[in-house]
């Protein structure tokens, strides 16, 4: 009985995994075949790279890649900066109303980012950051998730290390930089992975707040490239999609083990 349920569980897991990965497999299949071969699932048909050539010439991909890369970098740097400082304050300093403020920060986790799109749009416009990469990244910098994560990580640092650093002459920021940040390395790594993949894939917000090819990230560029007005060619769109997700996908395959370890070490699963 036990063995049977074990088989059923495994089978269900494999089935789920297949369903999960099937769109990616299809995109991969389609990207390397002509449209008619692709939709007919002709196994014997010839492989081709033409789709990639056509897709690459169809839009300023290099620019889009650059934009996405810059965007995730800006967001990540901003998040590291703000979540480190805020996480440290919530973990180790005392001030009146600390718990109330922390609850307010955590409430941000309950609000879907999409709900705030209009408000964020207005804010970014008021700041004159509309259609800039900084404007795209800014609303995500003070991430509640990141603050919470850093707080947990900093809280686990033994107080003696803090005190030893104080006696050795460190100021508060010195202690943060020399003791807490190095000790929270696994958390930073795990958080960076989450952040980069989230913002690499983010679509709705950049679509709204960018307006020109100079600031458009990959996701928006891809959707415009694949929009029905431009004519639907499933193979070319698949090729463009594979190109867009390739860097992240390859990075994941290469660093799979480190990814999982980082998450285990950071204590989030």
């Amino acid at each position: 009985m036990k063995r049977l349920s074990h088989y059923i569980e495994s089978a269900a897991a494999i089935l789920l995994a297949l369903i999960w990965i099937s769109p990616l497999l299809f995109a991969f299949w389609a990207a390397f075949h002509t449209t008619s071969d692709a939709v007919n699932f002709n196994i014997m048909s010839a492989w081709t790279l033409d789709n990639f050539r056509t897709a690459w010439d169809g839009a300023p991909w290099l620019r889009y890649f650059m934009n996405t890369f810059l965007l995730v970098t800006i967001v990540l740097i901003g998040q590291f900066f703000f979540t480190t400082l805020a996480g440290f304050v919530f973990a180790k300093l005392e001030f009146p109303g600390k718990n109330l403020v922390f609850i307010l920060v955590l409430m941000q986790l309950f609000i879907l980012p999409e709900v705030l799109i209009v408000e964020n749009y207005a804010m970014v416009s008021r700041l004159g950051l509309f259609d800039t990469l900084f404007g795209v990244g800014m609303p995500y910098m003070a991430s509640a998730f990141g603050i919470f994560l850093m707080r947990q990580s900093f809280k686990s640092v033994p107080i003696e290390l803090h005190e030893a650093a104080r006696i050795e002459g460190c100021g508060l920021l010195g202690i943060l930089w020399r003791v807490y940040v190095p000790l929270a390395k696994p958390t930073y790594l795990a958080y960076a992975l989450v952040s980069v993949s989230t913002h690499w894939n983010n679509f709705l917000w950049p679509l709204i707040v960018t307006n020109s090819p100079e600031t458009r990230p990959l996701t928006v560029g891809l959707s415009i490239f694949g929009a029905p007005e431009n004519g639907v060619d499933i193979s070319i769109i698949s090729a463009a999609t594979i190109m867009s997700v390739a860097p992240l996908l390859i990075a994941f395959l290469v660093f799979q083990r480190q990814f999982v370890q980082a998450f285990l070490r950071a204590g989030i699963k």
């Binding site: 033994p158 005190e163 030893a164 104080r166 006696i167 002459g169 460190c170 003791v179 190095p182 000790l183």
Partner: protein, 340 residues
């Protein structure tokens, strides 16, 4: 001219939301001396040390180091170093980086740093381990890294918070001697917190015995052992501790007092000739001597020391005697009656 004591605590008090922290701590520490803060856990010895270190600020009183009022100064401005019970080594830094952490923070030039590091490693016998991480060291080695970090900057005052409690008994003995030698060689002033009276008595020039946040007695190990200020000190110091006897059960002594008596001052005599007749409650063989625990109404902790292996059957009745001049007298409040 009277030299100003190196460290002075004046009427220092620290309270935790009504809970007792420490109260009325006044203490003078001479330069180059080794002072042990001794007491059972929760007596406030660690709190006193943390107040001195600047990790806590006192609610009352003042603290002076080298003639300077440091009551509200930051820990980093007090020119002292500290060894923590857990050693507090930075796990992400190598031995060398741990030792020079403070020098780096204080922006000591690179060449001077290297010289001081080499010196500190040599003194503590850590050469060759510079590039290890704390996780790759044994307990004793970690302890020495903590010591090296404490002495590398050449601070004159070093605070130690139970630095030996995480070592095994054998290592503890040798490190105890090392620390004492280090203190004497470098001429530094050490304030040492411990709950282990052997450590305090063997290392310190001056022992401060505390209980419930108050100082019970300050004095040399000899003072504490031979002239305890009250019954708490009498019962805390010494192994076995002093026996306390209600004076009315002993002939020839004024009643209403508590008498203190050391085990080595008691002798066993043939029955009928003793001053007290007791029942043997336990016998403990320690190698060079045997401790015989005795029971008598109105007395606690009566023990006789007999050389070598000399067990007595439990339940046997024996007579003991002692001299009047070996008795310590305490009044009803437990305070020592002087002049005796």
């Amino acid at each position: 001219m009277i030299a100003e004591p190196f460290v002075v605590l004046k009427d220092v008090a620290k309270r935790w939301n009504g809970q007792l922290g420490v109260e009325d701590i006044s203490l003078d520490i001479d330069e180059g001396s080794f002072v042990a803060l001794l007491g059972p856990s929760g007596c406030g010895k660690s709190t006193s040390l943390r107040l001195l270190a600047g990790l806590e600020l006192p609610d009352e009183g003042s603290i002076w180091i080298q003639g300077r009022d440091v009551t509200t100064s930051a820990a980093s401005d007090r020119n002292l170093s500290m060894v923590f019970q857990s050693y507090a080594l930075f796990p992400h830094l190598s031995v060398a980086e741990n030792v020079i952490f403070g020098l780096k923070v204080r922006r000591v030039p690179r060449t001077e740093r290297a010289a001081k590091l080499a010196n500190a490693l040599q003194i503590t016998g850590l050469e060759g381990l510079e590039n290890r991480k704390p996780a790759e060291l044994s307990g004793g080695q970690r302890q020495r890294v903590a010591l090296a970090r404490a002495i590398v900057a050449g601070q004159k005052l070093c605070l130690m918070d139970e630095p030996l409690s995480n070592l095994d008994a054998k290592l503890r003995n040798s490190v105890r001697k090392d620390i004492k030698k280090l203190q004497r060689d470098l001429g530094i002033t050490v304030v040492y917190v411990t709950h282990d009276q052997t450590e305090a008595m063997s290392m310190a020039d001056k022992v401060v015995l505390m209980k419930d946040g108050r100082i019970q007695q300050v004095g040399s190990p000899d003072d504490l052992y031979n002239r305890p200020a009250n019954t708490f000190v009498a019962e805390f110091v010494g192994a076995p501790p002093m026996a306390l006897i209600e004076s009315h059960i002993v002939d020839g002594v004024q009643p209403g007092l508590t008498l203190g008596l050391r085990a080595e001052k008691i002798s066993i005599v043939p029955s009928g000739e003793g001053r007290l007749s007791c029942r043997v409650s336990e016998a403990e063989f320690l190698g060079s001597e045997t401790l015989i625990g005795l029971e008598h109404e109105g007395a606690v902790g009566l023990t006789v020391m007999r050389p070598g292996l000399s067990m007595l059957p439990v339940g046997e009745h024996i007579d003991i005697t002692f001299n009047d001049q070996d008795l310590h007298m305490f009044n009803e409040a437990g305070e020592r009656i002087t002049g005796h």
